[in-house]
């Protein structure tokens, strides 16, 4: 308890508060810019943190990490360009909301749900990190296979009206995920001798192409059409009623997001995808999804920020980072002479609580900044198209090139811009494709690893309780709508039949 209070006390220190504020602001900016993510920034700033005190360094890196995941949603909502891969699910409904003139509402709910998800996960981290971390050991390839199948099971329902088209889009995504070196055989697939394809298709350029460039081409079809944004509502923030509508989605997503983040092999992007599915599954307003459902923004945003706290669990408690950013934070810890592991919680609690309190503070700070600036940001949707879309284009190109400094990423953007444009033209949605791309690799790799472990005996999957559980949940999820319909029908018959039987 003393350590906890001492950790919280740093928030009274103006220097520490300044560091956290700087980290949060920087995090929001780099998160919002496509091409520079929280991980790139923390890597580039790592040498700088070496000169700081351990506490300040960790507070700085931690607050960048928290804020960057929120920042990604800003551009996803406003210009259909996820600033961070983890915000791709946010664009599915966030951008339609902005187009409808509800940018302020979308940004506001994103800030609120991000902060709730983030703060929830920090509390889980404080209370249950060592316990939750042990769970990671129970997750081998078979369990990840079960989880990936669960994640993909909802894919037919996501995206457009036509389930067949959604599945086709997902298949294309899974197919794209097979590009590159096959992990279990070392064979290069579909790389055509291009070096940068050997590690697989880069996710960020695909996103930028499918969303930003496709939208730009779409805008070109509207050439000369007067933009009829409902200007007055564009800057309105969400109301209490909006928040109530999202409460369930935020609660579910905070929990699932923290859990998925805590699994070392999965990160914020997967968490956001799965929680987008779950938000729709549990929503009363399923029809709104894909057309600007406020729950479709709240769910993924709560999830990807909850995954931040979750990802810190194995990093701190096991010394195993679950994402690039946590790997860098781990490096930062190690350079500062802090050795992560179960003992960290007993040996150096003071430093640990500095991490916790700075993450809490960062979550609160971006909530305040995000809500405060939402009205300002929302005005971006009012910028004339002749300035907005060329700027989006240039930002996309620079952002696509920056992480790997490779021209092939620029071509990827352009190619997927055309793909995205054709997709819309023929009634396909990019959402299942992205889901397939994120989860497809995991399905194949974990399946092949599992079979190697099981000596190619498929039945061995049934000896793993977690896998059986995940399969069961998947099946229930798939058939629940039919069962529910059958149940209502039976009940109706049961209600009406006695009356009919009476003489």
């Amino acid at each position: 308890m003393d350590a906890f209070l001492a950790g919280m006390a740093i928030l009274l220190d103006p220097y520490m508060l300044g560091v956290i504020l700087a980290g949060t602001l920087l995090g929001i900016i780099v998160g919002a810019l496509p091409g520079i993510s929280g991980s790139t920034t923390t890597a580039l700033l790592l040498p700088l943190t070496v000169t700081m005190t351990p506490g300040a360094a960790l507070a700085f890196l931690g607050s960048i990490y928290c804020a960057a995941n929120f920042g990604g949603s800003i551009t996803a909502i406003l210009i259909n360009t996820p600033g961070d891969p983890s915000a791709s699910a946010t664009a599915f409904d966030g951008y339609p909301m902005a187009k409808r003139g509800e940018a302020g509402k979308a940004l506001g709910i994103s800030a609120i749900s991000s902060a709730i998800g983030g703060i929830f996960s920090v509390f889980v981290l404080i209370v249950a990190a060592p316990l939750l971390a042990r769970m990671a050991y129970e997750f081998g390839p078979p369990e990840y296979f079960g989880l990936a199948v669960f994640g993909l099971s909802m894919v037919a329902m996501i995206g457009g009206e036509s389930q067949v088209k959604n599945l086709m889009s997902a298949c294309l995504g899974v197919l794209l995920a097979t590009v590159g070196l096959d992990l279990t055989t070392g064979v290069e697939r579909f790389t055509f001798g291009v070096y940068s394809l050997s590690d697989g298709i880069e996710f960020v350029p695909v996103l930028i192409g499918l969303f930003a460039i496709a939208e730009m081409l779409e805008q070109a079809t509207q050439h000369g059409v007067v933009q009829d944004y409902i200007r007055l509502t564009a800057v309105k923030l969400p109301t209490l009623a909006d928040f109530r509508k999202c409460a369930k989605s935020i609660a579910i997503s905070s929990g699932i997001g923290t859990f998925i983040g805590a699994l070392p092999a999965l990160g914020a992007t997967t968490a956001a995808m799965i929680c987008y599915n779950e938000s729709k599954r549990w929503s009363k307003y399923k029809d709104e999804f894909g057309k600007g459902a406020i729950e479709g923004v709240a769910g993924p945003e709560a999830a990807n920020n909850a995954a931040v706290g979750g990802a810190m669990v194995p990093t701190l408690a096991l010394g195993i980072p679950g994402s690039t950013t946590t790997a860098i934070i781990l490096a930062g810890l190690i350079v500062q002479g802090v050795r992560p592991g179960p003992h960290l919680f007993t040996e150096q609690p003071a430093l640990l609580y500095i991490v916790f309190s700075s993450m809490l503070a960062a979550n609160l700070l971006y909530l305040v900044l995000g809500l405060g600036a939402a009205k300002l940001f929302a005005r971006l949707t009012l910028v004339p198209a002749a300035y907005l879309w060329p700027a989006v284009f240039v930002l996309s190109m620079v952002g696509a090139y920056a992480p790997n400094q490779s021209m092939s990423d620029i071509w990827t953007v352009l190619i997927f811009g055309v793909v995205g444009f054709l997709f819309r033209r023929y009634g396909f949605s990019p959402a299942p494709l992205i889901m397939g791309l994120v989860l497809g690799k995991m399905v194949e790799e974990s399946l092949k690893q599992s079979l190697l472990i099981f000596d190619q005996n498929w039945l061995m999957f049934l000896t793993r309780p977690i896998v059986v559980g995940l399969f069961a949940v998947t099946l229930i999820g798939l058939f629940a709508p039919f069962l529910a319909r059958a149940w209502t029908r039976t009940r109706k018959r049961w209600r009406t039949s006695p009356a009919g039987d009476l003489p």
Binding site: L33, R425, G440
Partner: protein
């Protein structure tokens, strides 16, 4: 063209794509026998291709997917915008990323209907400068300088 013809064309294109990619899977390197422990590299992609092809047939038959109307022909501004994007890559290779970006901002803005070159130029320089500040000055990224840049630079 009647309703559904579009779906059949989409399905046809998908199946053609599947066939080409499927043929390509035969060119994968062979795995040495000593390493071949489990499922081959080509198996999973082929499975996905089969699924995709079957779904395409369902689409053509309108099973689980309502027939869609033929979309309007692609308007000319889209072709122009697409061409401008390709041009950008060419210009980029020639004069470098930052100058090309400034040019693109002016050019695309003009295409989008803004006629004041002064306003476009000022905003282009400001935005390129701001991006340069973040990506290069602050984060130390390096960007293509183009043929021209190679001649001038060291």
């Amino acid at each position: 063209m009647g309703r559904g013809a579009t779906d059949r064309r989409v399905a046809g294109a998908t199946i053609l794509l599947c066939a080409i990619v499927y043929a390509y899977t035969y060119t994968f390197d062979e795995v040495p026998a000593a390493l071949m422990g489990g499922l081959g590299a080509e198996l999973f992609p082929r499975l996905v291709l089969w699924t995709l092809a079957i779904l395409a047939v369902l689409l053509a038959l309108h099973v689980g997917s309502p027939p869609m109307d033929a979309p309007a022909p692609i308007p000319r501004p889209v072709w122009i915008a697409g061409g401008a994007m390709l041009l950008y890559v060419g210009v980029l290779e020639l004069i470098g990323m930052w100058p090309a970006s400034a040019v693109a901002l002016v050019g695309l803005g003009w295409l989008w209907g803004e006629r004041s070159l002064v306003k476009l130029s000022i905003s282009a320089v400001m935005l390129t400068g701001a991006l340069n500040l973040v990506f290069v000055r602050l984060l130390g990224g390096s960007f293509p300088k183009g043929l021209l840049g190679a001649l001038v630079g060291p």
